[in-house]
């Protein structure tokens, strides 16, 4: 097992910026190394969720996911950089540091668990915890060429997760080794009395399931870049060679998933972020003689980033009197319609399959030219499974002409993670994964 010393970790981080806070002590021998997205609370290690407003927050408790990883022999070496509160597709919407793609430093890692994907790609024998709300594990896994899984909503306790959208957030795993998915989801899964939503789960299945058939939605192969389309087609051929039936299907609800997702996610986010007012934790240095409304407003205006403000405004609007029924209440209904669509297709197939992202990791200068809506739309392939709470996984399936990784995403039915574990393990034996050249 490759182990890294403190100075080595720092040097590597200097190049890739995957971590915000890092361990300050030499990692102990004999424990496996892991990192965790910076929206998971870690006792004694600063936790900012990518936001300046939380700078200085030293949680008094470990997130259940981190606690269970430590109990299984893990050593937390760093907290990974991310879009502020998870609000983004490229990890560029950060109030802190922006992680760089291990295959090209001028490109993004994807988001919002960009630092986690980067760490999983760069460090050997390393597993990183990510969090997905609308695709924040699969997108960076795809851009950084690693395996990434977001289990069923409620599978891993969210105690200690700094909320983005409470009905959407899922804690998962990113690693360059397919076998890590089964292993570490297994470590973290299970009921936790501190998170009611974790208490509805049946036991995690652990058998090997041979993949029989996949459904490819027509809606999932539209709008792809040429390289992604080509890689996906050859992956389908490879799957068929492995004995998997591939069938094209229609899933008409998928196009409604995106607006419904952004309504639910921002409605919930804007209530979650209401607590950041310059009191109790994080930034607190302000003029207390201001009237409370003005004091709160001054902090929030100064320390929230551009995208956080945009999503707070959007989410405040969609739940306002007069708009709530049209947006928020309708979005809840659409979620159920999307779930039903998945259930219908998954009654006849083991998984739904499509490319993870329509393109490969973009360059930072191209990202800065995108409008807010453009970048929201980039998530159209990852959002449906996320709004449905179904487990989903990105596996590397090819590289474009610049050598940038391409991923494909499998979606299984609620609580059926073992299908995904098995697919990843079978695929890993057939696919030659490229490691980035790491020079610190």
């Amino acid at each position: 097992m490759r182990s890294y010393g403190l100075s080595e970790i720092r040097a590597i981080n200097g190049k890739y910026s995957m971590f915000h806070a890092m361990t300050e002590e030499e990692p102990s021998e004999g424990r496996f190394h892991f990192s965790a997205k910076d929206n998971l609370t870690s006792k004694g290690m600063e936790t900012c969720s990518g936001s300046r407003i939380l700078e200085g927050y030293r949680p008094a408790f470990d997130a259940t996911s981190i606690e269970r990883m430590k109990a299984a022999g893990g050593e937390l070496i760093g907290k990974t950089n991310m879009d502020e509160f998870g609000f983004g597709t490229f990890s560029t919407n950060s109030g802190l540091e922006v992680p760089r793609n291990p295959f090209d430093l001028e490109r993004a890692c994807g988001g919002s668990s960009g630092g986690s994907a980067c760490a999983a790609a760069v460090f050997e024998d390393h597993v990183s915890l990510g969090v997905s709300t609308g695709g924040s594990i699969c997108c960076p896994a795809s851009f950084c060429g690693v395996y990434g899984i977001a289990p069923t909503y409620g599978r891993v306790s969210r105690y200690g997760l700094i909320d983005y959208g409470n009905s959407l957030d899922k804690i998962g795993v990113l690693s360059s080794k397919a076998t890590d998915l089964r292993k570490y989801i297994g470590v973290m899964a299970g009921k936790d009395e501190r998170d009611p939503t974790s208490c509805a789960q049946p036991e995690l299945g652990d058998s090997h399931v041979k993949l029989g058939s996949v459904a490819v939605p027509m809606e999932g192969v539209e709008g792809l870049s040429k390289d992604v389309e080509a890689a996906f087609r050859s992956a389908l051929v490879e799957l068929e060679r492995m004995g998997v039936d591939v069938e094209y299907v229609n899933m008409p609800s998928l196009k409604y998933a995106m607006p419904a997702y952004y309504v639910l996610a921002t409605s919930e986010a804007s209530t979650n972020l209401a607590r950041y007012v310059g009191m109790r934790y994080g930034q607190q240095e302000g003029d207390l003689s201001l009237k409370f409304d003005d004091y709160f407003t001054s902090f929030r205006s100064e320390y929230f980033g551009d995208e956080a403000k945009r999503r707070i405004l959007l989410g405040t609007f969609t739940r306002m009197v007069g708009f709530r029924d049209r947006y928020y209440a309708k979005a809840l209904q659409v979620r159920k319609v999307v779930i039903d669509d998945y259930k219908r297709v998954l009654a006849d197939h083991d998984a739904v399959l499509a490319p993870t992202m329509p393109f490969t990791a973009p360059r930072f200068d191209d990202i800065s030219k995108m409008s807010a809506l453009d970048s929201y739309k980039a998530d159209y392939l990852t959002i449906p499974a996320n709004i449905a709470g179904t487990p989903h996984m990105s596996v590397p399936c090819g590289y474009d002409s610049d050598g940038m990784p391409i991923g494909m995403q499998f979606v299984a039915d609620h609580w059926n993670e073992e299908v995904l574990f098995s697919i990843a393990e079978d695929w890993e034996r057939e696919f030659e994964l490229r490691r980035p050249e790491v020079v610190a």
Partner: protein, 90 residues
Amino acid sequence: MDRETIERVARAAHIKLTDDELERYSRDLGEILTYFELLDEAPGCDDYGVNPVEVADILRDDEPSIRIDPDELLRDMNTYEGYVRGPRLS
């Protein structure tokens, strides 16, 4: 989104916008809301829930306990004689 609406939203959200931001966000949100019109044509249903999987009847027994020392929680807070300092009320 018109200026009046965005100002009302910003006030409710406790965010102060510069003129520049106001213009930019009203353009962005306008674009996003136009896209959201898709929702109007989306099929609805009655049997939707609060969560994507059913979470029901999870309750705790009424047993008091303190697991984390409150002093530790207050450690990084701005306090005065055990009280948390806050801004002026009115």
